[in-house]
Amino acid sequence: MQYLLLIYEDESVYGDNHDSPTVAEIVRRHMAFGEEIGAARKGGAGLQPTSMATTVVTRAGAQTIHDGPFAETREQLGGFYLIDAPDLDAAIAIAKKLPLHADGSIEIRPLLEME
């Protein structure tokens, strides 16, 4: 089955500087993680912070554009992996290995299977 692993962390821990040692460290750990899970990794990317987010909202047919993410939350979506795993337990095992700076949450979502 294919699962999307959505990584939620407090994005402020990474600061604004992309060249900071904190960012370099997490990037290094993500590379190592990608190597470790090997062929199970089908795709993925890190995201720019929610200050870069724009949301298109449709309500009763009317569309409006908003600055910011869909919802203000304590932890923000910061990246994702698309993985292939035999079952949920295997996906959970991979999610548990995902590098985090400190606290965070990984949401595991199975993809809809298209026949």
Binding site: M1, Y3, A85, P86, L88, D89, A91, A93, I108
Partner: protein
């Protein structure tokens, strides 16, 4: 209803459903196919019961399940496999010699998977492993039947849709996953136990917890936590006959007549506890079982209640898990060993979310306040407990205690 079918369903139902679920990796198919087999048995067994009723049911359910799988494949317009020929008499005979695999442990782990909402785990286990009807479970959980049914559907959809595996977890996940299983049983049993009178709603349901812990202990014989829980549930159930007086009012533990306790269940509990203690240093669940064992060792009301040893056991339990419920239970023993003032101080220092909705918290506080002569505060605490909807026997007890305080 056919008596042979009744007996076969009771003795083999869980095993058959589990075997079907493991074979077809689908809980709905397992349930529907098993129900279909029972329906066919109800018609077919009128003229005579098969030699091996379990094998008959399994064979017929297997065929029904294959039909369902085939119909699904047709719906999703995939390739249709060749239909299976109907069973001939020789095949029916052969089926009796086939071994039905015991997949109950797998099914328990599926139902209690941490990815399933905790509220749904116990319900799903009672439904699929114990075979209780949706109506029975809804009554036990004080939920409208449609709500409970919806919860079960959602849980089953999650299992199928999210890819929850039909596997017993490996060593690295074992501890966590087993804990989810045992917590589920604890939650389910706590509901049955909270109703001291067992006034109908939980009839048979506490018994299911005896059955499922026995099954677990057979399937996984060397896990001390399973053995400890099996012991605890037996000790606790053994006291049921003494927990309510002739007038239907709750009798507190230290006033229960040990002569009324079920000696057979107590005798069944002890070997479980002994094995648990032989296998590992006592953890929270073994200490819990020891508390029950200590009470169940009381020979008669003439013997003093074992409050001092109970307090020591709760002290040890705090080292395993320091939470509000353990502290509250310890406070009850503390009140007897060192007086109500110290105990009340402990109880009032408790701070946990949900404590205000926890009936024993108010009941214990009310009792301590009453003993300290703080009648008004005690009345308020009894009222808080009564507002949380205690069962009939517990209500009777709380009301009687409150009345003894006099006043409004």
């Amino acid at each position: 209803m056919n008596r042979a079918l009744d007996r076969a369903a009771r003795d083999h139902g869980a095993r058959l459903r589990a075997a079907l679920a493991a074979r077809f990796r689908d809980l709905d198919i397992a349930e529907d196919a098993y129900a279909e087999a029972c329906a066919r048995a109800a018609r077919a067994w009128v003229t005579g019961t098969p030699r091996d009723p379990a094998a008959w049911l399994f064979r017929v359910a297997e065929r029904a399940a294959l039909d369902m799988v085939r119909r699904r494949l047709v719906r999703s317009s995939a390739m249709l496999p060749d239909p299976e020929p109907p069973p001939d008499p020789e095949e029916e005979l052969m089926a009796g010699n086939r071994l039905i695999p015991d997949e109950r442990l797998r099914l328990i782990f599926v139902c209690c998977h941490p990815a399933i909402h905790p509220d749904a785990r116990a319900a799903l286990t009672l439904r699929l492993v114990c075979g209780l009807s949706t109506g029975e479970i809804a009554r036990a959980f004080l939920l409208p039947e449609p709500t409970l049914a919806q919860r079960l559907v959602r849980a089953k959809n999650k299992i199928a849709g999210a890819g929850v595996p039909f596997e017993v977890p490996g060593p690295d996940a074992w501890a966590d996953r087993l804990d989810a299983v045992l917590s589920t049983i604890e939650i389910a049993y706590a509901r049955a136990h909270a109703d001291g009178g067992g006034t109908g709603r939980h009839a048979g349901y506490a018994g299911e917890m005896l059955g499922i812990t026995a099954t677990l202990a057979t399937l996984v014989p060397d896990e001390h936590d399973i053995l400890a829980l099996a012991a605890t549930i037996r000790f606790a159930e053994a006291r049921r006959p003494a927990r309510v007086d002739a007038g239907g009012t709750m009798v507190p533990l230290d006033r229960q007549d040990p002569a009324l306790w079920d000696a057979t269940l107590i005798a069944a509990a002890r070997p479980y506890l002994a094995r648990a203690l032989a296998l590992a240093r006592p953890g929270r669940r073994s200490l819990q079982a020891l508390v029950h064992a200590e009470w169940c060792s009381r020979g008669s009301l003439a013997e003093p209640p074992p409050w001092r040893s109970i307090l020591l056991l709760y002290d040890a339990m705090l080292l395993c898990r320091d939470d509000a419920i353990t502290r509250l239970n310890r406070a009850v023993a503390l009140a007897e060993a060192q007086g109500p003032a110290v105990a009340l101080e402990e109880v009032d220092a408790l701070d946990a979310p949900g404590l205000a909705d926890f009936l024993p918290y108010h009941a214990v506080r009310a009792d301590l306040l009453a003993r300290l002569g703080l009648a008004e505060a005690a009345r308020a605490a009894y009222d808080a407990a009564l507002r949380l909807g205690p069962e009939q026997a517990e209500r009777g007890w709380l009301e009687a205690r409150r009345a003894r305080l006099g006043g409004a």
